[in-house]
């Protein structure tokens, strides 16, 4: 929406290059995230999930497209709108949903919740509830990659709301100074809580916000998973080659409220409906797959598979016991 001039590192990131197999994978992942989030919303409504719960519905193509360009060992960190990132990173839907319900079987044994979840195994570093804090931490993950001499990349997700935090720019400066292999993914879903990006940012082209530090900026349609992946390919290659950080702004949209309790007064229903109807990232992939000749039945089979996975996760999240009271006192310090 906000590209004032032609963006791009090499200009080729809108190419449509996904194979049928890749596109099916993307479809499955995106449907998984959407169904998972809908179910989370339902469990929240039933009182089984408490506190804050920020859903990723509408933004699925962003994390799925980027994840397809990552390899084992690449590190990921994000904000509190984190369920999509976790599922895309390969974390177990059961463990994620059981953390949402605050149960023993959750990734943090119920001690983290929706906003604070981690997986050492999948190199997922949270899940952070302080807006913008994950950006400084994210360059630290990239710093560690460089310090150890690996070619691993760190993907640091944040929203256009966080992009007004001072530490984001401190992090740009440090990442550029040290040429850190950090891909900043600015998920512009157009609203920081109820404040539209136009009312919050004087900058009209957020992808250019790293320019003072020489950080290459890219801009991509986040409702198009193929475009996101192509942009990620270019950006990740840049980071992996030791050329320093990249800022990738992804234009996306959140269908649901900021969290579960949202007055929905700051935008018109017609705006949401219009995007949901005409720009939905899953519908788009579906159309593309059908155009490739994939049978409707095959997609339906995937839908059923996802449904089974999500139903199983929801059931696990409700039957897993609450954490033992002794958990209150564990994991505060490493006992030496």
């Amino acid at each position: 929406m906000s590209n004032e001039t032609d963006p791009g590192l090499g200009g080729g990131h809108n190419s449509r290059a996904m194979t049928e197999a890749d596109l099916k994978h993307a479809y499955y992942q995106m449907v998984l995230i959407r169904r998972f989030e809908e179910r989370s919303g339902q469990l929240y409504g039933m009182g089984l999930i408490g506190g804050f719960c920020h859903l990723y519905i509408g933004q699925e193509a962003v994390v799925v497209g980027i994840q397809m360009e990552l390899k084992q060992g690449d590190k990921i960190i994000t904000s509190y709108r984190d369920h999509g990132q976790m599922l895309a990173a390969g974390m177990d839907p059961r463990g994620v949903m059981a953390e949402l319900t605050g149960r023993e079987g959750g990734y943090s044994h119920g001690k983290g919740g929706s906003m604070h979840m981690f997986s050492s195994e999948k190199h997922f570093y949270g899940g952070h509830g302080i807006v913008g804090a994950q950006v400084s931490l994210g360059i630290g993950l990239a710093f560690a990659n460089k310090y150890r001499g690996t070619d691993e990349v760190s993907v640091t997700y944040y929203g256009e709301g966080a992009s007004n935090q001072g530490q984001v720019y401190e992090s740009f400066n440090l990442a550029a100074l040290h040429r850190l292999p950090c891909l900043f993914v600015l998920e512009n879903n157009r609203y920081g809580m109820g404040t539209s990006v136009e009312r919050a940012s004087a900058s009209k082209a957020l992808w250019r916000n790293g320019e003072p530090w020489g950080i290459p900026g890219m801009y991509v349609d986040g409702m198009d998973v193929q475009a996101v992946r192509a942009a990620a390919a270019e950006a990740v290659a840049h980071c992996r080659a030791g050329k320093g950080p990249v800022l990738l702004e992804v234009d996306t949209y959140r269908y649901r409220g900021h969290s579960m309790s949202d007055p929905a007064k700051y935008r018109q229903r017609s705006e949401v409906d219009e995007i949901r109807k005409n720009q939905d990232p899953i519908d788009r992939v579906r159309r593309e797959l059908l155009a490739m000749g994939v049978e409707e039945n095959e997609l339906k089979a995937m839908d059923e598979q996802v449904k089974a996975v999500v139903t199983d996760a929801a059931s696990f999240a409700q039957t897993s016991p609450e954490p033992d009271p002794s958990e209150l006192w564990t994991d505060i310090l490493v006992e030496s």
Binding site: R35, M46, D262, V334
Partner: protein
Amino acid sequence: MATEILMPALSPTMKEGKVARWLRKPGDAITAGDVIAEIETDKATMEVEAVDEGTLGQILVPEGTENVAVNTPIAVLLAEGEDSSAMPAAAPTAAAEPAVAQPSCGPVAAPPGAAPVAPQPEKDWGETQEITVREALRDAMAAELARDEDVFLIGEEVAQYQGAYKVSQGLLDQFGEKRVIDTPITEQGFTGMAIGAALTGLRPIVEFMTMNFAMQAIDQIINSAAKTRYMSGGQMSCPIVFRGPNGAAARVGAQHSQCYASWYGHVPGLKVVAPWSAADAKGLLRAAIRDPNPVVFLENEILYGQRFPCPVDEDFILPIGKAKVEREGRDVTIVTFSIMVGVALEAAAKLAEQGIEAEVINLRTIRPLDTQTVVDSVKKTSRLVTVEEGWPFAGIGAEVAMQVIEHAFDYLDAPPVRVAGADVPMPFAANLEKLALPNTDWIINAVRQVV
């Protein structure tokens, strides 16, 4: 099988709400994710999305209905081939009743390790040499940088400038710029960066030019470093040291003169160390760097140049969490830390001339507090005076006194007395600054109140 669609809650506290609008009608085909209704409370509205696919059967609660209790069935969703007479075979899953912790007057359950443990005598490290606190800190970092490739030092002016207070002198030459890293003036950024690196297993030493500047980064220290282990269910830890001069220096005014012992001491997930002597500085900094947890290491600028005997043994290290009895005495226990240890020892020497034998305890570690050493001493002396440079309200003295009250109340022959810095922002004028900081006379007067 038909499923009931239940009245959702917008928040855990919502008990009832209004079914504002039905967006789909009976007979409509529904796919998962379709918005089928809107509900409202006085605070917010929410869309009800279908989770399953099917056909909307009967609407049980018409739109406009107020005061619909959460979890009331509001419609029926029919599976393929069912008609509207189908009803769910099983009752909907009831919302789980969260287990409510029983309120209790006493400690519900003591955290592991919080109970006083039996003290062990401090190891004799043999031969010593007089060195400054500055040299001790530098030597500790050099030893640990040499010992472990994952350790690095990062901060403002730590490398080429050789340290704003020369604590890191020579380390750049010895270990190179990969391990000794200058940063721009960007505390929140470099602290977050170091914490991120620590979460992957590296062991950063973050030097703050003064701990006052760490307030720019205190969110990262507390929310990211201290809490991640707990929030990750023990998957991740954060082995990092945050160090720098703390408390008042001399004539630098309010924004550069503040003690953070109480601030960081408040936080579970942190260890907080406050050395006094060169031996404290060296032995405890080595332990802090090796510790698998985040450690806030509070130094003191005025002590940097002071000389103390320090063991020369290459393996010298001190345990975190262990106080030291610097002077034994039978009449009163003085509990203190950092620069005030020296002041308390001076006061004790003067008191001895007056026939009062004070026991002086150097806490060395603020968190976890060595309650046992303090309690053992008070059981002997029956009197407690705490001394700190920081402000009195909710200070370390308040905590130490409370620990003594909890664990040795019956042994006390007088109410504990706190000596602390004046409860004012630090003034600049020399005479006023002097009036704001505890001295030997304050301590002697406090002791005289209880003995």
